[in-house]
């Protein structure tokens, strides 16, 4: 199948480009997808644009050309669907969970989740419109409602927010730089082949948010057949393996073809 495809492409002599708009949390995984897809399809170039999901949505709505949209939450995928920007429904490709990170030297003395509420700590979150920011606030709300945490916990933690970043990777970098005392990011951001040097504080599954990453073909795609090929590749078992290696959670692929 791949042989026929590449022969066809070679026959036309046209170098094709796939433009992928993917959430910044997916950057490592999708860079690997791009490399592998290009290797399997000579003559095809995969170009990736990584940013906060909300920023990608704004760009796509503004007419940015693209073939693939990969979001870090359901909300923005549904939004684009309602706006008629998708050629097909969003397909879940992975799951993610949140984790609290602190710089290696722990300048903020944050040993536990409770310490996040200590006045004067510097917490960095993604902005509310960013999937990671929405998830983080949801998680903090759930945590505040748990027994063992005082009633004002969530408010106290939110008062410690010193910056609202544009995408989750900016949160990571503020912690890596040692400027923030703590940040709330995805597990995948601190997993993967080259994890950043940070300390992690795990969040109990009972309050943690399960983030869903979805992928869809964009309506304006000029290579829908090739794009669907790319989606199939991401959703295949090897593709899911790539995602798992980058710290995401996936199910095993079923045999059902999903177009």
């Amino acid at each position: 199948m791949a042989l026929v495809a590449s022969l066809t492409l070679a026959g036309t002599g046209v170098a094709r480009t796939l433009v992928v708009h993917a959430a910044s949390s997916l950057s490592g995984a999708f860079q690997e997808f791009a490399r592998r897809f290009e290797a399997a399809h000579p003559g095809v170039k995969v170009v990736c644009n990584f940013a906060g999901t909300q920023q990608l949505v704004r760009q796509i709505e503004g007419g940015a050309p693209g073939d693939v949209f990969a979001s870090a939450d359901d909300r923005w995928m549904t939004y684009l669907e309602r706006k008629g920007q998708l050629a097909g429904p969003g397909v879940p490709i992975a799951r993610n969970r949140l984790v609290v990170i602190t710089p290696p030297g722990d300048p903020g003395h944050i040993r536990s989740l409770a310490d996040l509420a200590v006045p004067g700590r510097k917490l960095v979150l993604a902005a509310r419109a960013v999937p990671a920011g929405g998830y983080a606030r949801e998680m903090l709300l759930r945590l505040g409602r748990t027994s063992g945490y005082s009633p004002g916990y969530t408010e106290a933690v939110l008062r410690n927010v010193v910056s609202e970043e544009d995408n989750v990777r900016q949160v990571v970098s503020k912690v890596v730089l040692g400027e923030a005392d703590a940040g709330v990011v995805y597990r995948s951001d601190v997993g993967g082949p080259r994890p950043p040097l940070v300390r992690r504080i795990e969040i109990p599954d009972s309050v943690n948010v399960i983030a869903t990453d979805l992928m869809a073909v964009l309506k304006g795609s000029r290579s829908p057949v090739l794009t669907r090929e790319f989606l199939r590749f991401v959703n295949s078992e090897p593709g899911r393996g790539v995602l798992r290696r980058h710290g995401f959670e996936t199910d095993r692929a079923t045999d059902v073809a999903n177009d």
Binding site: G52, Q54, R58, A129, V162, S163, E164, K174, L177, E179
Partner: protein, 279 residues
């Protein structure tokens, strides 16, 4: 020269001149259009009612207040700290003058996010001077002070270069007269140079103010983004764009109006299009 040649020459001369005129007009129309159409698009996207309504929103007010306070403070600091440097560059020859000149001009050509990263690595808690600053109880990132630092860093060159050029262009005869009358350098500076060159200084300060108002990249990287504390208007526009387009347009319109006001001030201080401060 024969009559035919003269006519032919003048005809072709006129034709060439006409072609140049058309080309120049097209070029001018493109550039002016490029400037005008986006601004027009901004204004057409909202209504005065929407602007007034949004002016009541706490986030917009916070951004507006923060922008005015920080840009005002930055400009003041830039004038106070930049004038001595401009004086030195204009009137004194010293070793390393070229280096000082380059350093002072550098932020003008540095990409703002690069500047922000550099500021973090220098003045951040984990930065080069971070330990020293922490010992003095100063932690800059994520504070309003950091916004001012970022703005000063990016806008100072605009004042210093303008002021230095202004000082240097003082008619030497004035300085000589003052000297023959027995005036010392400080007196001459404050009572001869400054009054003569005040318009140039104001112009430089206005440019710095405009740059400080527009500051984005260094601010968001070094100071962070928090409504009420570090989210100036350009940052607010950027963040609002992704979730509240109407609010973003209102903020953008306000910024354009403030910038136009600054330009008007600048125009009144620098009659004529010449780059030198000859007012």
């Amino acid at each position: 020269m024969s009559r035919t040649t003269r006519t032919a020459r003048s005809h072709s001369g006129r034709a060439v001149a006409a072609l140049w005129a058309v080309a120049a007009s097209l070029g001018a129309a493109l550039i002016v259009g490029l400037m005008a159409v986006p601004v027009l698009a901004l204004f057409l996207r909202t209504t005065p009612q929407a602007v007034l309504a949004h002016l009541r929103s706490p986030q917009v007010l916070a951004a507006l207040r923060l922008s005015l306070v920080t840009a005002g403070s930055s400009t003041l600091l830039v004038v106070l700290l930049g004038s001595p440097v401009a004086y030195l560059l204009a009137f004194r020859r010293f070793r390393g003058r070229g280096l000082v000149r380059t350093l002072v001009e550098l932020p003008m050509v540095l990409p703002p996010t690069v500047a922000g990263l550099a500021l973090l690595l220098a003045l951040g808690r984990a930065g080069l001077l971070g330990g020293g600053l922490s010992a003095l109880g100063i932690q800059l990132p994520f504070t309003t002070a950091a916004v001012v630092v970022a703005q000063v860093f990016m806008s100072a060159p605009f004042f210093v270069t303008g002021a230095a050029a202004g000082f240097a262009s003082v008619d030497r005869s004035h300085l000589e007269v003052a000297a023959t009358l027995g005036a010392r350098a400080p007196f001459t500076f404050f009572h001869v140079v400054l009054p003569l060159r005040a318009p140039a200084l104001f112009a430089g300060a206005t440019m710095a103010a405009a740059r400080a108002l527009a500051e984005f990249g260094a601010t968001i990287t070094f100071a962070g983004n928090l409504p009420g504390r570090t989210q100036t208007m350009p940052l607010a526009v950027y963040m609002a764009m992704e979730s509240d387009l109407e609010g973003a347009v209102v903020l953008a319109v306000l910024l354009v109006l403030m910038s136009v006001a600054l330009l008007a001030v600048l125009r009144s201080l620098r009659p004529g299009w010449s780059g030198s401060a000859d007012a």
